[in-house]
């Protein structure tokens, strides 16, 4: 929604959630690298 960015939202839960999604995605990709390397 253009221009509708609300103020700094310090709900750490959502921050942790998105960081977890990121780390989990890359962990799975790294796992794939390991599987393909065998």
């Amino acid at each position: 929604m253009p221009g509708a960015a609300p103020g700094l939202d310090l709900t750490l839960v959502t921050d942790v959630l998105y960081l977890l999604i990121t780390v989990a995605s890359f962990a799975l990709l790294a796992l794939l690298v390991g599987v393909l390397d065998k």
């Binding site: 253009p2 960015a5 939202d9 998105y18 960081l19 999604i21 990121t22 794939l32 393909l36």
Partner: protein, 554 residues
């Protein structure tokens, strides 16, 4: 049809510019990725980062380096977006919401540059320059590095899976290729009228006595790398349709030239890297043919396509800037969707139904015509392997590409690559059309509504980044769904391509025999283009039928 001659003249001029620029840049790219000598500034960078530039990495280490570097980029960009209001040069802009900051971070690190926000309203100069523009450079260099690694894998003999050094490729791509061309291009852009300043928004009085806020900023410098790196993220919400970002037909042509330059030059460089320039020319020819067909179909659709308005007005002018005209908009639309750039100079939601369908298909081909910087080349090379494999099956011989045998392991990796993006894309569409949150932001219903959803997910999954429009995506649902599509659509294929590069690098090339399929002749060009259209294009026929094709027939 009064626009036909200028349209053809514009395409001819573009072709001439590319013919003049691609071979020398291709040679420079090949030298960049094969020279053993390091520049002084590069050595300094390696010292600061405590890297050994002469250490050759196995494909596994190379892939983990790509993933690690990108992970750090996402986390850093996320923090920059979330904390924007606490940082200098923010122009008083608020921090981005969590879902928006994540989407933006993933978007720019994956070279997608999908934008759910209005740049001129939501972002300050620090985020634009230190966040987005930096990622414009390094995400592009990452794609080029992966393509160089695959070319090395094909060129090397018994190298134990070693495909180069990611950080050396990354630094060289930025220092030797992207920075110099982007710097010159930024100056040209500024001279041609693109805005470049550090001013805060200026209040102007309009002719009818009202007040309008005009936002400036370092636009030309971002515009240059935005096109050159096939990034596409606009400084302004309306991207290259904005008169500060793309003011004249000259800047429009320059932008199209820049976004096509490196993808074609990478194909030329490939020929040099594998020691047979004809191989690069064949790959380049397939890219060019597919793009020219796309340009022709899209231009026809917009200038003489179905519908009363295009027939009477001599073109579908809705959603287009009059300073570019129908032909200038159609050429830009084909070039931006064929290259994974994602910049737009017209409203793609207003393209005619067949025109919108062509734009979607160009992305769905896997961004190979000519594709993103680096990603276009490695996508096309994967399809070349498929072509060789299919031809090998027909004549009953072991298929090989450039002397490297295509065995079971290789074909599993190639099949994974070919299936990965459609899997991400079609799953994303399925989730969006079945979830109430996915349908909530739709402007249209029926076939056009489906096209709006399919275009958005296609754009994200293929790391294009252009928006059809007509769909409100700045919501937690869409930001998360499209973020996942961008992330998986970028890194799943990269991991598979690097694994393939490693497999090739372990082999000793076999000399060509009587049963070897020549991969530099026109026959192979036709076969490769056919495989791209049949194998990849047919995957999307059902969903295209329900969207733009049904709309065309309505």
């Amino acid at each position: 049809m009064s626009e036909l001659l200028p349209a053809l003249g514009q395409i001819l001029l573009l072709v001439l510019l590319l013919v003049a620029a691609v071979p020398p840049l291709g040679r420079h790219l090949a030298h960049t990725y094969s020279s053993p000598a390091h520049w002084r500034v590069e050595r300094g960078t390696y010292r600061v980062l405590r890297l050994d530039p002469d250490a050759d990495q196995t494909w596994r280490v190379y892939a983990l380096s790509v993933l690690g570097f990108s992970l750090v980029g996402i986390v850093a960009l996320y923090a920059l977006g979330r904390l924007q209001e606490l940082l200098p040069l923010s122009l008083g802009r608020a921090g981005l919401p969590a879902d928006g900051a994540w989407n933006t971070a993933v978007s720019f690190v994956t070279n997608t540059n999908w934008q759910w926000y209005s740049g001129e309203v939501a972002l300050g100069h620090l985020m634009q320059m230190s966040g987005l523009t930096v990622q414009n450079f390094v995400s592009a260099a990452t794609g080029m590095a992966v393509a160089a690694a695959l070319a090395r894998g094909l060129a090397r003999s018994r190298a134990e899976g070693r495909v180069g050094n990611f950080f050396v490729d990354l630094v060289r791509g930025v220092v030797r290729v992207l920075l110099p061309i982007a710097a010159v291009s930024a100056v040209l852009m500024a001279l041609a009228g693109v805005v470049q300043n550090f001013l805060a928004p200026v209040a102007m009085r309009t002719l009818d006595g009202g007040t309008q806020m005009l936002t400036g900023g370092p636009v030309a410098s971002q515009e240059a790398i935005k096109q050159l790196g096939t990034n596409g993220g606009g400084f302004f919400n309306v991207n290259s349709a904005h008169p500060f970002e793309n003011p004249t037909p000259l800047t429009n042509l320059l932008a199209i030239f820049l976004l096509l330059l490196i993808p074609f030059a990478m194909a030329w460089a490939f020929g040099h890297l594998v020691g047979d320039r004809r191989q690069g020319a064949a790959v380049l020819a397939v890219m060019a043919v597919l793009l020219l067909v796309g340009v022709g179909l899209l231009t026809w659709a917009e200038m003489a396509g179905p519908g009363t308005a295009p027939q009477l007005a001599g073109g579908a002018l809705e959603g287009k800037e009059t300073r570019f005209g129908t032909a200038g908009s159609a050429l830009f639309a084909a070039a931006t969707t064929g290259t994974s750039t994602g910049a737009v100079n017209a409203m793609h939601d207003s393209l005619t139904a067949p025109g919108g369908g062509v734009a979607m298909l160009l992305m769905q081909l896997g961004e190979i015509a000519p594709g993103g910087v680096g990603s276009g080349l490695y996508g096309m090379l994967v399809l070349a392997v498929v072509t060789v494999f299919l031809c090998g099956l027909m004549v009953g011989r072991t298929p090989e590409y450039l002397g490297k045998k295509i065995g079971q392991r290789e074909i599993v990796l190639v099949a994974g690559y070919v299936l990965a993006t459609p899997l991400v894309l079609l799953t994303g569409v399925a989730v969006a059309v079945t979830a109430p949150a996915g349908l909530a932001g739709l402007q249209e219903t029926g076939p056009h509504g489906l096209s709006e959803i399919v275009y958005a997910v296609t754009s994200a999954s293929n790391n294009n980044g252009s928006a059809f429009g007509g769909l409100t995506t700045g919501t937690p649902f869409w930001n998360t769904l499209l973020g996942l599509c961008m992330l998986l659509g970028r890194f799943l294929p990269i991991v598979l391509v690097l694994a393939l590069a490693g497999r090739f690098a372990t082999q000793q090339p076999a000399p060509p025999g009587a049963g070897t399929l020549p991969t530099h002749r026109p026959l192979f060009v036709v076969l490769l283009a056919g495989v791209a259209l049949v194998l990849v294009g047919l995957t999307y026929v059902p969903v295209l039928t329900l969207g733009p094709i049904v709309e065309s027939l309505a």
